[in-house]
Subunit: 197 residues, 2 copies
């Protein structure tokens, strides 16, 4: 049985809906699955934080505030989302600085790099230079697999790869598979221990 | 001569204006000085980042987005600022996790803790537990002095202090004075080196 990223069995209704090939619905469904993966990371962070295992959190999305209405209790009435120039997550584990980006892909054979920005690559290079621990957590949704891959591989493929993608084989050979459980949903600290400690 | 936090000589016009004791003007001026101190930290971070000394940045202010108008290119039309439940700054220096809060005070004899939230204290306790480096950078604006003080002192006074403030003497005895320069404006990495490395 194929499981959803949230560990729930694949529901027939959902399957039926996406088989309609209605473009809007497919894209919403895909966004939801991405959101669900992000949510898995967030609730895993909460789990780790509550149990004193590590302290890692999501950086707020930077927002460019243009106008604030103070007559309405500092209500923002005009603002724009800004592109994150760093990664989404950072924090501390065993005294070490941890920095990572989490991405979901529907692709079965490679992870496309078109969602990764030049700024993020530069940021991760600096993290490595300063001896922090930098990696990606990539969910191959269609394969129901999640890998932790050191950022150095991503940087390599971003800068020297012929195609703008990382083949699945790179994850299989150099990555650490992140196991799922009921709680935490993604046992990524186990993967960090295997790789870095 | 008394210097402004930004290193510029104290301007007579500013002095005259604040002597009017117009409440609005005083509060704007005070907000500006606070902003100027924040700006000193931010440009010092840029300096350190560009020179490969450390990688420390300001966390974006969390914003609760209520409504987005997609017909206007994802313009946020209704949102609110949220209280930061962590500190303002974090990053990596020599592999170690760095986490701090920066505050300005006009007070001459103590640093009042009414601007520090319970959430921030809890956050800093967790950083220390996970062996990260946690501190405050406090500017005593009227004294033209800036100190780095380990978060453990702030936690102690927050939880056990009789008055909700930290006396200046605690900074003088246990803090490290942060020197100013043209570039970086606040040499806080020197203070980190003295205290932690």
């Amino acid at each position: 049985m194929i499981n959803y990223p949230n560990g729930q069995p694949y529901k027939k209704e959902e399957k039926k809906r996406s088989s309609k090939k209605n473009k809007t619905e497919i894209s919403i469904s895909s966004a939801n699955r991405g959101m669900s993966f992000e949510n898995d990371i967030n609730v895993s962070n909460d789990y780790y934080k509550e149990r004193g295992i590590c302290l890692i959190s999501k950086r707020p999305t930077p927002i460019n505030v243009v106008k604030v209405d103070y007559s309405k209790g500092a209500m923002i009435t005009h603002a724009y989302f800004e592109t994150q120039s760093t990664t989404d997550y950072n924090g501390v584990y065993k005294g070490k600085y941890i920095d990572f980006e989490a991405k979901n892909t529907k692709n079965k054979t490679s992870f496309p790099l078109n969602n990764i920005t030049k700024h993020q690559i530069e940021h991760l290079k600096m993290v490595i230079y300063h001896e922090g621990i930098a990696f990606f957590i990539i969910q191959f949704e269609s394969l129901d697999k999640v890998y932790l891959l050191d950022a150095s591989y991503v940087i390599h493929f971003y800068e020297h790869g012929e195609r703008k993608s990382i083949p699945l084989s790179c994850f299989e050979e150099n990555g650490i598979e992140v196991e799922r459980s009921y709680n935490p949903r993604l046992k990524y600290i186990d993967a960090i221990d295997k790789k870095y400690f």
